[in-house]
Structures are given as structure tokens and as C-alpha cells.
Amino acid sequence: MSSRGSGGRSNGTLPQTKICQFKLVLLGDMAVGKSSLVLRFVKGQFDEFQETTIGAAFLAQSVCLDDTTVKFEIWDTAGQERYHSLAPMYYRGAQAAIVVFDITKPETFERAKAWVKELQRQASPNIVIALAGNKADLAERRLVEYEEAQTYAEDTGLLFMETSAKTAMNVNELFLAIAKKMPKTDTQNPTHAARHRGVNLQDPDAHSTRACCGGN
């Protein structure tokens, strides 16, 4: 976690960090907490790396990993069965996916497995898939056992964590684990990023505090 948001970057002298940008798609049944999970991740990060978006269905957030800035563009999908057929439009070209289920609802786990299968068959062959058992704060109502999901994830080669968007449990960890697994090919020319910050004579206050306007 210490690698996240290494502080000294705002002062103009940018180290030659690699910037990798990835499209991450969120899949999972309706109301399993896809948006909450991502929003928890995005809002929990430093403002510096946060990009303003118009709503919670698309969010962007960067995390720092050693010498690399990993920028996630997070595409949420509608989980309703009726919109299932639209999903390929969203996961096409995605380099990462989080498939979310609700540990209190076994049917969402089944649906998650179906998503994983579909992704493995149809999405980019090198897509990094993470399985998230959300609502871990509701452990007393748990109906999907940790071991069961863990075994499934191991068998299928997925990252797996139980998360809670409510308590923030494992939320950052999940994204960091994904970030670590991503191939780190520089997708942006860092010299330009540095150049545009340039000699920063601007009052730090002049940077408007960015906030996510989505959701509420």
C-alpha cells in the first residue's frame, strides 16, 4: 500500500514515471455493489490522481506502483439479464475485468462464474480477471463460502478477494493486485506529461480541487 500515491509528484519536477492506461470492465449481477466498490476505490484515493467524470458508470483513477502510474478507466456495465447481450460492447478491448458477486446471494456467484467463462472465451485473451465477493461486511448472512469461491478462482486462474465497499475492506488491495498483474508497457509519453507541468509557477491553490460528481 505504501506505493500508492507517492507524495512528491505535485511539485512539477516529475520523475520519469511510466504511465500505463488500462480499460477495466466491471461485470456482475445487478445490485451486487459494482459501482459502490469502484466508487470506494476512486474516492479513497488521493485527489491528485482523480479525474472528474460526469457519473459513476464511468470512472477513472490512477494508482502508483513503484515507478509506474497505472491509470484505470473503469467501465461499469448494467447487470440486468436483459442487458446481458450488450456486455461485449463494453468488455471488448478491456485489459482487466472485475467480476463482482454478492456473498449473501448464491445466484450472483453463479452469474459471476458465467461472466468469467464468457470473458475467458470472448474477451481479450490476456485479460486480467479478478473475482470480488462483495458485501463481506454481511458475513452473518453469508451464503457463498470463502473457500468455495477461492477454490473456483484458483482453478480458473483468477485473482480473488472478498471485499466490502461499505467498510472499504480489500477494495484498494483488489485494485492494486490487478495493477500489479497488468503488463507495464508505457502507453503514454511521460515526457509530455512532464513538459506540460513544465516550470510550475502556478499557485498550488489554483488547481481546483477535483471531485467526483457522480452518483449523488
Binding site: 500505463c20 492506461q21 488500462f22 480499460k23 466491471l26 445487478m30 445490485a31 459494482k34 459501482s35 467524470t53 460526469i54 457519473g55 459513476a56 458508470a57 464511468f58 477513472a60 478507466e73 467501465w75 461499469d76 448494467a78 447487470g79 440486468q80 436483459r82 442487458y83 446481458h84 447481450s85 450488450l86 456486455a87 461485449p88 460492447m89 463494453y90 471488448r92 478491448g93 485489459q95 458465467a114 467463462k117 464468457e118 470472448q122 481479450s124 485473451p125 490476456n126 497488468m182 503488463p183 508497457t185 502507453t187 503514454q188 509519453n189 515526457t191 509530455h192 513538459r195 506540460h196 513544465g198 516550470v199 509557477l201 502556478q202 499557485d203 489554483a206 457522480g214 452518483g215 449523488n216
Partner: protein, 788 residues
């Protein structure tokens, strides 16, 4: 080694840095040793070298102790061959440079020089940069560093290579970043000064005020400029006094005095105001300018007297000079405002008027033509004071907000591209002309290619046009000068200006092509039929969660207006921008009645958008969506715009493919087909556009893709295994049974075929074939990618 896939076009393209021509700034930096020589050069030597050179020829001298740039020596030209000195202040770290008299500071010396070559500010004449420098390219840039000051002042014939163009300085106009010590970074558009001229400055607010002006330093400082520029009016009031080149000390004092007068309206000189010569350059006018010193200003003045403040370190060197005469008043100023033009307090209402519109719409070539008419007659010196004040405020605040920076850069680029496209014989103009003619001709041909294919060719042509445009010598410096936006935004700017010249003339034609294509393939009929079925459904029937709001009638009305604007826009980028506004207001409606903290993601947004679409003109929207998807620049497909465009497409697709009898099982073959084409084309065009620009990875991809295209065509003819697999993937993606692998692929296919017998919507055979091609292509390419 795994390579990050760029299939979706997420690879940022550093095309700007790959261009070969150097910017004027780079060129100036390259030969800095020539115009800013080191130790052996002192004032005498510099004066000797400069004397007799054309007005504006200059050298910058370094302080012998600190070797920081300390003195700017400028030739005043003329018979007297006077050489003027201007002190340069710099901070210890040499990150801020400023003429002692001026209150504009620059982050490097080259920017300072460039700025003063474009506008005089406190100088008597504009600096003159030798013409040959515009011809310096990568090839001969090494020689820049070897230049000596004496060479700099002459025109070295050996540098006049064949690459030297006749470009005038105005064609390589750069915006210049300068800073005030309050931290405001200002982007100065030199054109603004040149275009709008200084006629408003030459107007004395009152005769009385001008009478109070200490006349001596004004006379000394203002020499006639040999540059012709829109501010010619200034010259008429400048006394020419070549024999009295002011000493440095006098200059400093005068600078101080003017600063003081600026910062202390209606106030006697106070210590804090006196030392503020390094203070604020540009600031928002105080609404209460006639009262005492505004708090913010006094704070800044005080802070600027602290030696540790960057940029003001040297200001403490100057002892405040007592100044007997009443100081003129000016609530705010920049240093290039002439002294003696202090203005009465502004009317507060004027602050409400946004100034940015005044700033744009300049084209460089028009300046020379217009300057004649801008020369004011000498007897115009007593205008309405209020009007003058308003003008000043508009302009100052405009520059100060730096809004003008981006807006005017954008306009400048657009105008320049427009000019280029109309210039007879220019390669870009020819290419645009050909494109427009060809597109109109082909679009009118009823036996022509299918809608989407046609649009893809248009996109391809646009990309080639962009390349041609970027090869124009005049565009590159303009782009390089735009330093305050990132590459994606810049790319978008270029696209926008291209759309204006290329897409605007053909957009109507393109719409009718999409229309006939969509009518022909039956999708409009599907849309129409399903609209009737779906429009009665409420938001919860569409899948929205309880409590999610939908737009009220007022909002819906506004959304309809926005959709109209979407359709009216000819630029796909612009369309996407408006789409984002619509999405934003949908979000707003969604959460209007929801409990706070409720998060609405795609689970609710997609149903809401669908609900809105069902109450909109979906047919026109379908046209616009196709238009955007096919014609949008690849770099614009990432991010938020790409997401919401995909969502719009998905939602329209949901409506047109809705099957009441098979609600959740309908397959997205067509959607996939289209998206496959979309992404494939993106990749291909991306390659195409970069092929000459050292895009190693993408170039490799081009070859792969081309090879694959041939292969997959053969494959689809043979009904190969891979094609079958692809089909089954398409079939099973939403079929639960298939996902559980309990039903055979054939079964799934049979089922959906019986459920949609001879449906217009499903040209299944044709579609499948195309899809096979698309998917096979993508899969193999990605594998190949992985193997790189």
C-alpha cells in the same frame, strides 16, 4: 513478452514530438549562447557590436559575478545608432526572468526574448530575431550552438539553406507563458495585442492626468518602433529622443513609479506599494477600486517585498523614490499599458461581461491587412472614460484568466486551417478539395458502397488529411506553441479544425448515406416497431432500481434540444461533447429524489438512458450515433466519451433488437459485428496515420492485420473450425443454457432462428460471415500481439 494491447486505441501517440521542425522557442534556446554570450562580453563590447545594426537587434549579457542574464542591450536603430539597456531580473534559481521595468515574468530567457520580439511592452522597440532562424531544422540545428554573438547580429549566409522558407515571424507565432508573482500563469496571445492594438491605450483618460505625468521618462523610454504593428497609434505620442538613452537607474525608477501608481489608487505612495514593482502583473479588477487598497493587493505587495519571494528578490534593491507629482490612477495594469493612460475606476457591472469572445477569431494573415485602419487619428484622445475602462478591464481580466489562452489558440488553429484549405495550390487545400468532391460524388451514387463502409473510408480520408495538414510547415509551430493542453486535447483540436473544412461540407451527404443504409438493412423498421412496444414501459420495467429518478418534462425538453444540437453539429467530437451533457443531466435526474449517498452506476444509467431515448427521436439519434462511431478520431474513443457513446449505441441497439418473446436471449451478433468493424478500423487507421512516424508497434500491427484480413477471408469461405468457434461464442454469450454447456451450439442456434423467423433484423448469414471475419481477425491479432 506480453504487450499491452492497443486494439482499442488506447495507445497515446506522441506525434507532436516526432515532428522534425523546430519551434522558434527551441531555435532560440539552441543558439542562446549567440544572443546571450558568457563572460568576456561586457556592456561596452555588446554596445559596440550592436551599434549600427537594425532596430531591435539585441544581445543579452550575463552578470560577471553570477553569470545570470542581467542586461538586455537593444539597438534602437536609426541614424544615432543608440543602444538601449534594460536590466533583467532573475531569481537565484534562474527560473524566473523579468525585465526590471516590466512586471511580466517568464520561466526562461527564450520565452522572454520571444515575447519581446512580438510585443514591445516596456521596450522602445520590439526585439528582432534574425529571419534565418526560421529556416533552421533538425539538420542544421547543431550549428546553432556554434553561433557567436557577432554572427547572431548579422545574417549568416551559410545558414541560408534551401530549407529556409520565406515564412514571416507571424507565421510561427507562439503563445508565451508568463507569470505574475501572485502565481497566476498567463498565456499571452501576442496576436491579441497586435490585433486589438494599443489605440485604446493611446487615449488619455483625462487631459489633467496626462498633465500630471512626469514627462521626462516617458520621452526617454519611448522610441519609435520600426516594427509595423497594430499599435502604431502609440508611436504618434511617443517623443523620439534618441540622444537621451536612459540610464538603467532611471529606468528602474520609472518602473517603480508606475508600479506604485498602479497599486495604490487614490492613495499616497505607501511603502508597501512602492516596492511592488515585481508584484502582480494581471489581476481581476477590484470592485471597489476607488476605495482604499484592496486587501489582496496589499498582501501581495508586502509579500513581494520579502526577499525570499521568487521573482521579487531584486525588487528590494531599488530604493523607493519620492515622487512629487500626484500619481495617476489605475486600478490594475499590465506593464505594457502606457503610462499616462490611467483610468478611472471601472463600473462594477462591467465585470459581469465575459471577455473571452473578444480574444479569439484572429487570424494571423489578417493582421497585416487590418493594421492600417487601426491607426487612430491624433485627435481621438478624449474618449468616454467609462468605455475605455471597460475595455481595459475586459482585456485584462480576459488575459488574466487565461481563458483567452485556450480559446484563442483554438480559434487560431481553426482559422489557420481554414486559410490553408482555401489557399490555391497548397497540398492540403488540394487534398481537402479532392476529398469533398469525391465524398459528395460517391455519396450521391446509389449503387455505391454500404453506409458503414463508406463512412469508414471517409474516416480513413480524414486521417490522411490530418497527416497532410500536419505536414504543413505553418501548422507545426502553431501546435508546438500550444503547450498548456495535453496531447489528446491537442489532437482533438486538430481534429475539430479539420472537421470544419472537410466534414462540414459533406455532413448532410453522410447523413443521407447512413439513412439509406439503415433503412435498407431494416434496422429502422425494427426501431420503429419496438418503439411502440417499449415506449409504454416505465423505468422500473426497463430494469431501473426503485427510487431512481427520470428526467421531468422540463429536463426532457432540454435534452431534446441537446439532441437537436447533436444532430446539427458536423463534428463527431462536438457531438460527443453534447452527448456528455445529456448524460450529465440524466444523472442529475436520476439522483434528484434519491436518498443522499445513493450511487447510480450502469445498472441504473443504461435503463435511464433507454427511457430517455424512447422519448426522443431515435431515428435521428441512430444516424448521429453511427456518424460518431464511424467518424470519431481513434484517440477520442477512450475515456468518458467512448464509454457514453458505447452506452448510447448499446441502448439504441437494445431498443432495435428487443424481442418480446425472447426478452433476455437476443444475441448481439449485429452489435458485435459493428463493434468489431469499429475496433478493427480504428486499429488499421491508427496505423495508417502513423505509418511514417516511427510507430514501431502499430506499424507491425498493420502488417499483421493486413495479412490476417486476407487469411480470414479465405477462412470464412471454408467454414473453418475457428469460424465455427466464433459463431458459437456469438450465440452463447447471453444464453444461460449454453453458458452452462448443457445445450449444444447447434441447439442454441436453432432456437433463436425459430424465434425470429425471417426477421428483418437478422440477416444472420451475412452478419455471421462478417462477424467471423472480424472476430477471427481480432483474436489472432491479439494473440500475435501477445507474442511480440
Amino acid at each position: 513478452m506480453a504487450v499491452h494491447s492497443s486494439v482499442n486505441g488506447t495507445t497515446a501517440i506522441p506525434w507532436r514530438s516526432s515532428r522534425r521542425r523546430l519551434t522558434l522557442l527551441e531555435q532560440l534556446r539552441g543558439c542562446q549562447e549567440a544572443w546571450c554570450p558568457g563572460a568576456p562580453w561586457d556592456r561596452e563590447e555588446a554596445h559596440a557590436a550592436i551599434r549600427g545594426t537594425p532596430a531591435g537587434s539585441f544581445l543579452v549579457l550575463r552578470d560577471s559575478a553570477t553569470s545570470q542574464p542581467s542586461l538586455l542591450c537593444v539597438s534602437a536603430g536609426g541614424e544615432n545608432e543608440a543602444v538601449l539597456d534594460y536590466n533583467i531580473k532573475s531569481t537565484d534559481t534562474a527560473s524566473v526572468f523579468q525585465l526590471a521595468e516590466s512586471r511580466l515574468s517568464f520561466s526562461d530567457l527564450a520565452q522572454l526574448v520571444l515575447f519581446y520580439s512580438l510585443t514591445r511592452d516596456v521596450l522602445a522597440v520590439c526585439l528582432s530575431i534574425p529571419c534565418w532562424i526560421y529556416g533552421v531544422t533538425d539538420k542544421n540545428k547543431d550549428r546553432l550552438a556554434q553561433l557567436e554573438p557577432k554572427t547572431w547580429l548579422l545574417t549568416p549566409p551559410d545558414l541560408q539553406t534551401d530549407e529556409m522558407t520565406q515564412r514571416e515571424p507571424s507565421s510561427v507565432m507562439c503563445s508565451i507563458q508568463l507569470t505574475s508573482t501572485n502565481g497566476a500563469l498567463c498565456i499571452i496571445n501576442p496576436l491579441y495585442l497586435r490585433e486589438h492594438g494599443d489605440d485604446w491605450l493611446t487615449n488619455r483618460a483625462t487631459a489633467a492626468q496626462s498633465a500630471t505625468q512626469p514627462s521626462n521618462y516617458r520621452r526617454e523610454r519611448r522610441l519609435s518602433t520600426t516594427r509595423t504593428w497594430a499599435g502604431a497609434g502609440l508611436q504618434s505620442k511617443r517623443a523620439i529622443s534618441l540622444d537621451q538613452a536612459p540610464s538603467t537607474a532611471e529606468m528602474e525608477i520609472s518602473g517603480l513609479t508606475r508600479a506604485k501608481s498602479a497599486d495604490s489608487p487614490n492613495c499616497p505612495p505607501s511603502p508597501s506599494a512602492k516596492v511592488s514593482s515585481a508584484g502582480v502583473v494581471l489581476r481581476r479588477p477590484s470592485k471597489d477600486a476607488s476605495s482604499s487598497l484592496p486587501q489582496r493587493e496589499s498582501t501581495e505587495s508586502l509579500s513581494s517585498s520579502t526577499p525570499s519571494t521568487p521573482g521579487s528578490r531584486n525588487s528590494t534593491v531599488f530604493e523607493p523614490q519620492p515622487h512629487g507629482s500626484p500619481v495617476p490612477q489605475s486600478p490594475h495594469r499590465v506593464s505594457w499599458i502606457e503610462d499616462g493612460v490611467w483610468l478611472p475606476p471601472p463600473r462594477p457591472s462591467s465585470l459581469l461581461q465575459p471577455p473571452s469572445l473578444e480574444l479569439d477569431s484572429l487570424s494571423i494573415s489578417s493582421i497585416e491587412e487590418e493594421q492600417e485602419s487601426q491607426t487612430p487619428s491624433p485627435n481621438q484622445h478624449y474618449p468616454c472614460a467609462h468605455r475605455l475602462a471597460d475595455k481595459v478591464i475586459h482585456r485584462l481580466s480576459a488575459v488574466g484568466q487565461a481563458i483567452g489562452g485556450l480559446v484563442s489558440q483554438k480559434k487560431r488553429l481553426t482559422n489557420r486551417v481554414q486559410e490553408l484549405s482555401e489557399r490555391k495550390g497548397d497540398p492540403f487545400a488540394e487534398a481537402v478539395k479532392d476529398f469533398v468532391e469525391m465524398t459528395l460524388k460517391r455519396g450521391a451514387d446509389p449503387s455505391g458502397v454500404l453506409g458503414t463502409e463508406f463512412l469508414q473510408e471517409v474516416r480513413s480520408s480524414l486521417t490522411s488529411l490530418k497527416e497532410t495538414l500536419l505536414d504543413c510547415q505553418e501548422i507545426q509551430p502553431l501546435l508546438d506553441s500550444i503547450t498548456d493542453i495535453n496531447d489528446a486535447e491537442l489532437e482533438s483540436l486538430v481534429e475539430l479544425s479539420l472537421h470544419k473544412v472537410a466534414l462540414k461540407p459533406v455532413s448532410t451527404q453522410l447523413y443521407s448515406c447512413i439513412l439509406s443504409s439503415r433503412t435498407e438493412d431494416g434496422s429502422f423498421k425494427c426501431l420503429q416497431n419496438n418503439l411502440r412496444v417499449l415506449e409504454k414501459k416505465g423505468i422500473e420495467e426497463l430494469g431501473g432500481s426503485a427510487g431512481v429518478g427520470v428526467p421531468d418534462s422540463v429536463t426532457l425538453e432540454r435534452i431534446q434540444q441537446r439532441w437537436t444540437s447533436v444532430h446539427e453539429a458536423y463534428s463527431p467530437n462536438k457531438k460527443v461533447q453534447i452527448l456528455l451533457k445529456v448524460c450529465k443531466s440524466i444523472y442529475h435526474s436520476m439522483s434528484a429524489n434519491a436518498s443522499s449517498g445513493k450511487v447510480f452506476g450502469a445498472d441504473d444509467f443504461l435503463p435511464c438512458l433507454t427511457w430517455v431515448l424512447l422519448r426522443s427521436d431515435v431515428f435521428t439519434l441512430q444516424l448521429d450515433t453511427d456518424y460518431m462511431m464511424e467518424l470519431l478520431d481513434p484517440t477520442q474513443l477512450q475515456g468518458e466519451g467512448g464509454y457514453y457513446l458505447t452506452t448510447l449505441y448499446a441502448s439504441l441497439y437494445y431498443i432495435s433488437s428487443f424481442q418480446p418473446r425472447l426478452p433476455a436471449r437476443q444475441l448481439s451478433v449485429e452489435a458485435q459485428k459493428s463493434l468489431n468493424q469499429w475496433h478493427r478500423r480504428r486499429t488499421l487507421h491508427c496505423n495508417q496515420s502513423r505509418r511514417s512516424k516511427h510507430r514501431r508497434t502499430i506499424r507491425r500491427l498493420t502488417r499483421v492485420a493486413q495479412t490476417l484480413e486476407t487469411d480470414s477471408k479465405e477462412d470464412s469461405g471454408k467454414e473453418s473450425d475457428s469460424a465455427n468457434t466464433v459463431t458459437s461464442q456469438g450465440q452463447t454469450e447471453s444464453t444461460t443454457e449454453a453458458l452452462q454447456e448443457t445445450s449444444s451450439e447447434q441447439g442454441a442456434e436453432d432456437k433463436s432462428q425459430t424465434s425470429t423467423p425471417a426477421s428483418n433484423c437478422n440477416h444472420r448469414d451475412r452478419v455471421r460471415k462478417t462477424q467471423e471475419e472480424g472476430l477471427t481477425l481480432c483474436t489472432v491479432r491479439e494473440e500475435n500481439h501477445r507474442g511480440l
